[in-house]
């Protein structure tokens, strides 16, 4: 058993693909039409390249309710590791990304939180 796929709900798959590739810098792996929606996955150019993140539609009202409640409470839905959190904060801010928490030390890590424009808060962390 392996962890090879995980997913994040987005309120608009086009917008999600644009943000996760053009702004965050992930690479599109799959974009396959499935009925009304698409199967979209991205990978990180920093690897591992067989670990995929699916950008799922949040069309299910139950999923949407969960997503919105977590968002309103300020809770990030996923966390990505970065090597230079101050650099990423500066780069993403320049791209127009809104942060709800600037980089700050929290025990063994430094973390920051931003909005992914698709209904989620995402945490970045840099291990000490």
């Amino acid at each position: 058993m392996r962890i090879k796929l995980t997913s994040i709900m987005v309120d608009d798959q086009d917008k999600g693909l644009r943000f996760y590739t053009e702004v965050l810098g992930f690479t599109k792996k799959h974009d396959i039409p499935v009925g009304e929606y698409r199967w979209i996955t991205v990978t990180s150019p920093e690897g591992p390249d067989d670990l995929e993140l699916a950008l799922e539609p949040n069309a299910n009202p139950a999923g949407k309710a969960f997503q919105e409640a977590m968002f309103s409470q300020g809770i990030p839905i996923a966390a990505f590791e970065v090597a230079d959190i101050a650099g990423e904060f500066a780069r993403l801010t320049a791209e127009g990304v809104a942060f709800t928490r600037p980089p700050m030390r929290a025990g063994p890590v430094t973390l920051a939180i931003f909005a992914d424009t698709c209904g989620n808060l995402i945490q970045l962390y840099q291990p000490a």
Binding site: I32, G35, E36, W39, E56, P57, A59, T117
Partner: protein, 151 residues
């Protein structure tokens, strides 16, 4: 842009307000006042957080509600148009067609044929889970060639 707790909370509140059906529908400037952000900053911050302007968000919310009503209910296109908050059938139809890819009447016909039990939305319209995988072509799972096999 950095939003502190209070600023973030106001934007979440604005998102809820934009979903409300009020008669007459408040302007974006009215809503900005209601959440105590200047209209300029309101539009800019909302777009940075939610990826669309408040106006676009409201339109999208109404079109989503329209889709739902057309799929599950027994309402005419005109009733749906009024119910979700559009005042003109023409602009509703034009926006719906542009965004969804087919006219409201065509959507209603096509989707209602998929609904088997009254009131139950077909799974195709609410995937939101990894079941989408089941309908992928085998190529989506293609494995890279293993070196030892080539040897």
């Amino acid at each position: 842009m950095l939003l502190r707790h209070e600023g973030f909370r106001r934007l979440c509140r604005a998102r809820d307000l934009l979903r409300e059906r009020r008669e007459p529908s408040p302007s974006i400037a009215d809503l900005a006042r209601e959440v105590q952000i200047s209209p300029f900053h309101f539009i800019r911050q909302f777009e940075a957080v939610f990826g669309v302007t408040p106006h676009q968000f409201r339109i999208q919310t109404r079109l989503d509600a329209a889709r739902h009503l057309l799929a599950t209910g027994h309402y005419s296109v005109t009733d749906v148009c009024m119910d979700v908050g559009f005042s003109s059938l023409g602009s509703f139809s034009a926006l719906f067609t542009k965004r969804i890819g087919e006219a409201p009447s065509a959507y209603r016909r096509r989707v209602r044929a998929m609904v088997q039990v009254p009131g139950v939305i077909p799974a195709d319209l609410t995937p939101g889970c990894l079941t989408l995988m089941g309908r992928l072509p085998p190529s989506a799972f293609a494995r890279p060639a293993r070196n030892f096999r080539e040897a």
